[in-house]
């Protein structure tokens, strides 16, 4: 008998991580808007942060979409008791 799990289980902690990233990313932008100066460099920093984040997420999506997450992975193989007797 084997115990197997679908691959998409791995996506759950990843989704939680993305939520955490969004939380900290939001505060980073909030600080620039609330406490930064009304200058070009301030807008440039926000633009670069959001731009690079979108690029990383886009590449991640491309790589993630190539995997069939419904495939099951065997994590444990239980040997029948009859084999021992």
């Amino acid at each position: 008998m084997t115990i197997s799990i679908p691959l998409y289980i791995i996506l759950i902690p990843y989704a939680l991580f993305l939520l955490g990233f969004a939380f900290f990313g939001f505060f980073a932008i909030y600080h620039l808007i609330r406490f930064g100066f009304r200058t070009f460099s301030n807008f440039l920093m926000m633009f670069v942060f959001l731009g690079v984040t979108i690029i990383i997420l886009f590449i991640s999506y491309q790589m993630i979409s190539e995997i069939n997450w419904f495939n099951e992975v065997q994590i444990l193989e239980l040997t029948g008791a009859s084999q021992f007797f």
Binding site: F27, A28, L32, F35, G36, F37, N42, I56, S60, V73
Partner: protein, 188 residues
Amino acid sequence: MLDLKHLPNQKEFEKTMFALRRHWIVPVTITLIFLVVVAIIALLYFVVLPTNPDLLKSELAQALFVIGVSTLALVIWLLYFNSLIDYYLDVWIITNERIIIMEQKGLFSRTSAELKLYRIQDVKAEIHGVLSTVLDYGEITVQTAGEEAHFEFKQIPKPYEVSRQILELVEQDRANHLDEFKSEQTGA
């Protein structure tokens, strides 16, 4: 957002003289550390994977690899960006009336203080170390008569010149607030 031409509680005759940030060596160092970390990861990717082609053969390994790379990239990027914000939001704004001190300490801690120029008693500039001497950056300490005895701003470019400029502004401001300054000195 703050506007250097329209500061909070700005008086009619108040002008922004200059704004101070830490020396450019600070963001350059942060960026260099970021680039070294990225280079190490890229090197591992290009060295380890081609020499071990069996490493990503199973679907589980591929899935873990994709999620791991994405997570690592986002974590490194966020840490780098937050370090830059920490640098960018540490500012001293010097006007002909006061010094406004704003310091970001991490993502959820921020200090803001204001010093009246005529209450400043002493401005000290210090440079320690080889790199600081070569690149001309150091520490400025402002001593006041108030309850908070002194304020420090580290890694300031041209600290001697800046301290001299601040002292000149202090002298000018004292002349404008002569009555208030004398009454504070005599304790009246």
